[in-house]
Symmetry: C2
Amino acid sequence: MTMLDDVVVAGVGMHPFGRFPGLTLKDLARVAIIRALTDAGIGVKDVDAVYSSNAMGGLLQGQEMVRGQTVLREVGIEGVPVVNVENACAGGSTALAQAVMAVRSGSSDVVLAVGFEKMFVDDLARTLDALESAADLEVVRGLGIQFTAIYAMRLRARIADGVLSLRDLADVSVKSHANGALNPYAQHRKKVTAEQVLESREIADPLTLLMCSSLSDGAAAVVVARAGVLDSGGRPTVRVRASQSGSGVTTDPGGGISIATQCAERAYAEAAVSPGDIGVAEVHDAMAPAELLYAEQLGFCAPGAGAEFFRSGATEIGGSLPMNPSGGLASRGHPVGATGLAQISELTWQLRGEAGERQTKRPRLALAHNSGGWLEGEAAAVNVHILERMQPWD
Amino acid sequence: MTMLDDVVVAGVGMHPFGRFPGLTLKDLARVAIIRALTDAGIGVKDVDAVYSSNAMGGLLQGQEMVRGQTVLREVGIEGVPVVNVENACAGGSTALAQAVMAVRSGSSDVVLAVGFEKMFVDDLARTLDALESAADLEVVRGLGIQFTAIYAMRLRARIADGVLSLRDLADVSVKSHANGALNPYAQHRKKVTAEQVLESREIADPLTLLMCSSLSDGAAAVVVARAGVLDSGGRPTVRVRASQSGSGVTTDPGGGISIATQCAERAYAEAAVSPGDIGVAEVHDAMAPAELLYAEQLGFCAPGAGAEFFRSGATEIGGSLPMNPSGGLASRGHPVGATGLAQISELTWQLRGEAGERQTKRPRLALAHNSGGWLEGEAAAVNVHILERMQPWD
């Protein structure tokens, strides 16, 4: 790859995640977009192309087909190519992956990826029904949301194997909420104790309410650009070192290698780095304890060593490989189409040293893992991105 | 651009367009995909990535978020990146544009673009409501479908200006149906007379029923590949010479240059050709007479000369620049997410000399114009592709 193909994250921005009954999808998206453009030091006329991610606007707001255009029109971004993408909970990172590709292909220099979701509607049963369509409806219709059950079964099996304990599940949720409490964009900004987690309402044994991500309204936006096109304004440059996607039923004949692992291995190869080089990670903890599984699947620790790795303190904000310093999905909230770009926003702040009280220890490389939908127990879409801070920390 | 960036159309395939009450979205898509793979001489394991286009599956079938994955699972394409795209009636060509970009970016060698739609449902009022979401619902909700009205107003203004006549509107519809009658994939395969067109039910003065595209079920698929990766099996090679996209409210301060014209001009520049070099075109005639306007907007004739150009016979199958030899949207049918890829299928057959009774005169260059949605009277998404037959006709 030549320097011409290098892609940088030029700007990021978020609308806080939470419950915003007075705001529309357009309101949420507008704030994230303007913040990302401002952060990149550019105006609406500087954007060459847009990738827009929204998962539920068709079913919840009735707006299909041109969702991105409707929010961009409000902001004044006009005339440029707009592509509306969907990939369930991985839609945000899918928009990012396409934006990176647009730069690498030579077709654009400055590309906006935006994700927005409004899950709180008058009748929440509609939201729960809509979430079913993250899987094949012919398979799951009427069965209720399967995500939670799948995570629960996997965790139960691990507890039975003795490689992790119920207390680990609670403790990782405590860590997520402690991090989220420091994040002004997080939906749930209150520390919790392990006892509170374990005593909260059971969702699917062993998962309790305080372990799970919640419905959320929110938006996030990321501007990527060809290296050298935009002025970094004296701030550290954040480069996209790897962008890898996968989806669907695993093609691994043994069935043992998850799509997350496949994407991560390809991402490490693309960036020519090892898992041990990663200094901070945001992973798709739709239920906080999933972080324990993903630490293994992403190669941060040996298979089966997720709990041990967590107990060592490595994944805390002050640890050697902090995971979900933002609070993750469980504490930051999970407005489906926006989550993947919220991860990139957090990691960009971390790499620049702009994460405030959540700042991790001088990370050089950051990894984002975003996962969406289900097909026969595997994720329907996974994207893994690796970002790098180009300048040394002083 | 180096030869490494050259992208070819390696295979195309369609499920016939029409009304298929017994078939599901998966059934329609499966046929198109398998035909495109077979046409390309490859199997499901040879596909590196997939772009999937469907516009109304969320609102009509309830399946959002992972629509592509659900149909690919049926075919046995697994594990590869899948991106679900939407852009109203331009979704199919948006999937193609992204597939081309994926090859040009270096991330994939063989990419499938597939579009599928099932508009005939039990209650057709639901389909008409869903079509409204091709525009900003905050603007159009409850106003009924505006597409037809916008086309009608533009055509009425032209008739008032004396640059075209009601008879032209009828005659171009006669041509579309005559072409469609020769197309085994077309929904309406019956010739009509100008009198029948003019006497059919009025939709929006001066447009009548036989001028308009209809609801349709159908699917189309296209395999693109990095040049040299796949064996062409001794057939002529069809290369993608230009892929240009635009959308939204025009940024032209004068307001006079349509997005279609902007995309076409960029496509001619990318391919280093002139409109006069194009040998065959498929354009987005959601109403057949729109072909008269697009002939001008795409530069095939001077502004205001669309009717004169048409009356000359240039746009007939045997003419110098045949337009919509497939029958176009009005006769082939318009299953929203599939149309853009049906255009590419037709043009590929034309360039290879495989179009049977619809075969045009040895075209070297072909142009596809696909348009979707509305924002303040302009298309929300436009894609223009130019394809080239690499080998001379013997």
